[in-house]
């Protein structure tokens, strides 16, 4: 932006300098005009007459008129667009465009930053991460506490926890439409895996831990996708 502004101003200045020579030329023309006017007055005056005959007078008039016409032609040429003017104008327009584009991009980045940092990272992520982390941390203890009883573990611990994670994931709808169904699929698969692990009403601790840890990794991957999708918007 700075380079283009300097370029445009430099070209514009050089153009002004080139056009500023014109008044000097016209000054000469005016001086010549005044001198010739005096000559004409001299011609009219019966007392002082530098022209010996009418042929010389006619020659000088021709020279004066030709010079005057060529000066007018130069004036007309000054008003047309030179290469420098076109380049300067283009650089100026480009500079303005760059300025507005930068402003627009900055505003857009601020909105993205607000959405990502405030809504996602400070508002939506913490309760969700807290829920899935507590599932990992507490599940083993809960199973021991409930004597490895599958019915008690599922009804008193896992299903309420599963429903809680599912409900929190619905809050992400404003940022990602695919997040909530993806979370629900992970939870359903986890439910299936735990249900299949039940043997004579008993759940084994390692089976529960493995299944929940696997689901946790998938949850984290989905959270990453939410961040990626918010950046591409």
């Amino acid at each position: 932006l700075i380079i283009s502004l300097i370029l445009s101003s430099t070209i514009a200045c050089s153009n002004i300098q080139s056009t500023s020579t014109i008044p000097t030329q016209t000054h000469h023309v005016h001086t010549y005009k005044k001198k010739k006017a005096q000559d004409v007055n001299n011609i009219k005056s019966p007392k002082v007459n530098n022209y010996s005959n009418s042929v010389d007078l006619l020659r000088d008039f021709k020279i004066y008129n030709t010079t005057n016409i060529s000066a007018k032609k130069d004036d007309n040429n000054d008003q047309t667009w030179t290469k420098e003017t076109v380049l300067a104008t283009m650089s100026f327009v480009f500079s303005l465009f760059t300025l507005f584009w930068t402003e627009f991009k900055e505003k857009k980045n601020k909105i993205i930053d607000y959405k990502e940092n405030f809504w996602l990272k400070q508002t939506l992520f913490p309760p969700f991460i807290q829920s899935i982390t507590s599932l990992v941390k507490e599940s083993s203890d809960a199973l021991v506490k409930l004597n490895f009883n599958s019915t008690k573990f599922m009804t008193e611990y896992f299903i309420p926890k599963k429903n809680q994670i599912e409900d929190i994931s619905r809050l992400f709808i404003s940022h990602s439409k695919s997040f909530e169904p993806a979370v629900y699929k992970i939870l359903t698969d986890l439910d299936d895996e735990l249900s299949d692990s039940i043997n004579n009403g008993i759940l084994i601790g390692s089976d529960v831990t493995n299944a929940i840890n696997k689901a946790y990794i998938l949850f984290v991957a989905e959270l990453d996708r939410v961040i990626d999708s918010s950046k591409t918007k």
Binding site: S150, T151, M154, T155, I159, N163, K177, E180, P181, Y184, K185, T188, D191, D192, L194, S195, D196, I198, G201
Partner: protein, 106 residues
């Protein structure tokens, strides 16, 4: 014909019914019986202490759960009056899942 699923008599009268796959297996078992023609109407019966999870209901009801546009419309076809309260709530959760736009993904 209305499909009556009595959990106190069928599928081993267990305390817990969970998992979508288990629900799908139960559905296959139900429809494998002779002379079964379901008109889309369901009735569920369970005793106190029995728990049927939402994912199990999803598997049991199959694609029919996605045919309802609203929860109220679903209640015209699915009778939950004789279900235990906890299981009733799970069934409602399953129906809500089926009526949401993303429900057909599963």
């Amino acid at each position: 014909m209305m499909m009556i699923v009595d959990f106190t008599k069928e599928f081993g009268n267990q305390d817990l019914y969970s998992g979508r796959k288990n629900g799908e297996r139960a559905r296959e078992q139900l429809f494998s019986k002779p002379n079964i023609v379901n008109d889309g109407k369901w009735k569920f019966i369970s005793r106190a202490g029995q728990f049927i999870s939402s994912s199990y209901f999803l598997g049991l009801l199959g694609d029919s759960i996605f045919s309802f546009s609203t929860v109220n419309e679903a209640f015209k076809y699915i009778n939950l009056d004789e279900l235990d309260q906890a299981s009733k709530e799970e069934c409602i959760r399953a129906i809500k899942r089926g009526t949401t736009p993303n429900g057909d993904l599963f």
